[in-house]
Amino acid sequence: MSAAPWTIAGIHAALQAKKISAREIASGFYAEIDRRNPELNAYLTLSHERAYSQADRVDAAIARGDKLPPLAGVPIAVKDVISTSGIRTTCGSKILESYIPPYDATAVTRLENAGAVILGKTNCDEFAMGSSNENSAYGPVRNPVALDRVPGGSSGGSAAAVAAGLAVVALGTDTGGSIRQPAACCGIPGLMPTYGRVSRYGLIAFASSLDRIGPFAGNIADTAAVVAVIAGHDENDSTSAAASVPHYDVQIEGPIQGLRIGVPEEYFGEGIDSEVKEKVLAAIALMEKLGCRRIPLKMPHTEYAIATYYIIATAEASSNLARYDGVRFGLRVPGATLLEMYRKTRERGFGSEVKRRIMLGTYVLSSGYYDAYYLRAQKVRSLLARDFSDAFQKVDAILAPTSPTPAFKLGEKTSDPLQMYLADIYTVTGSLAGIPGISIPCGKTKAQLPVGLQILGPHFSESRILQLARAFEKAGGFGI
């Protein structure tokens, strides 16, 4: 079996026609993982037993002639910051090396209820902190498109797994760009839904006001099918929205003629790679050809977004990661006193980027600095959100590059944390504003590296974003 060309619709048809069983599909993917993963390092843990028992349930349903749920037999990878009952969940950290969650994240439960087969857990930057996957305690992931390059981060394993055909779809998480940027680097679609659209229950927290779960897939129809399953209110997450979930998978074919697309000049300034700029401008021209109206925008606070993001995200992280103290779960390094045990456990368990962010967050929240950094950042966050709400008075969606450069080389930015942070310059804005965004492929550079086009829309506008993405895909835009 060749794993690469499977789509959700293709699996559904093949299962219905009894050309292949769900178990055979799963074992085909595991064979491909065994062959490719030693090189890519996309998966950290494989869940054979759970996958095969789910596949057997799907096969039994087919044998009975039951109507199949939307993701029946679809092999899926789950980022290792999302809890899976009975399956090790490390967050890419030594501090959770042997942690086995006692419950499933709501997104995982919903996927399995829809028939999906969870193949395993994917590598990521430690606690989702990074833009290259090089901060994983379990080694970096290689980009399947160019093995000497990073897959992006922090959901690098999920993006690489889908791009390499080691899963049909995957769950990632996006806090400052961690779905969209690796999607761009690996040349596949990746969607960050509106804050509150998908329950965070069971997502191990990095920055709670920013963290979101969303899908990677090989095409827009599959992206829509996954978000349609995982979205919706969950009483276990008080920030999840009650709004009903549209039939995203059906709505993607909706018309885009006449939509006003905003192009903010701040996203094309200093620091953007010239080939990235050229491809994104070509993509915008194609959208115009498809009937959209291009409107130039100014979003004046964009240049403050990285500073705002790294204050707020690290402040929240310093609080969220206080729970790793060796008492209740995860690593414990013995100490003579309770405090010594805390310090030794955290010293040994956390990697250097996590320590750096915990210290930065602790500093910006500490007495004497709170007003100057944290409170100020929260105010600028309001201004950034206002930039978007003002823009969405004039336009229906915003088009921009996902990342200023294509995938960079392994090791290229590891010695300079600030340069790594600047890789998120076009993605942190949407994160801070709580709006949805998708990255879709828009061609390749001369060196054959994928470029990502970002589409951002107002809160709860996933349908429209997906329609634009689908029209672009249908018009051949992915290979522009």
Binding site: A242, Y304, V327, M359, R376, K379, H459, S461
Partner: protein, 111 residues
């Protein structure tokens, strides 16, 4: 210089992290560079700007960052009903050192 070596050590203590002398110096330099960069927020006049303190959004197509209550924002509160919670064994099974129903830690109170 925005942050001193003493500041770094104080922050590490607050965050329950132990640093070697080399690490303290490395982090001092890196945090200094990052704090200088984020210091650009001082350029903005933020008079009369409210901080964005919660993330709940009205459904529909408008972008109002801070609705009055979470009910309006479409994040309803659930009924306050007491329900059994039977996860203690599963939770304790992940503890590094537990004696049911307790987590065991080094002695805290000397007498």
């Amino acid at each position: 210089m925005t942050i001193s070596r003493d500041d770094v050590l104080r922050v590490a203590e607050l965050a329950h992290l132990e640093l070697t002398p080399d690490e303290a110096e490395m982090y001092r330099g890196q945090l200094d560079e990052i704090l200088n960069y984020v210091g650009k927020l001082q350029q903005l006049d933020l008079t009369n700007v409210e901080p964005m303190t919660q993330m709940s959004f009205a459904t529909g197509e408008t972008t109002s960052p801070l609705p009055e209550s979470n009910q309006e924002a479409g994040t309803p509160l659930r009924d306050d009903i007491v329900r059994p919670c039977t996860v203690a064994d599963a939770v304790l099974s992940q503890a590094p050192d537990a004696i049911k129903p307790f987590f065991r830690v080094p002695k805290v109170i000397e007498r």
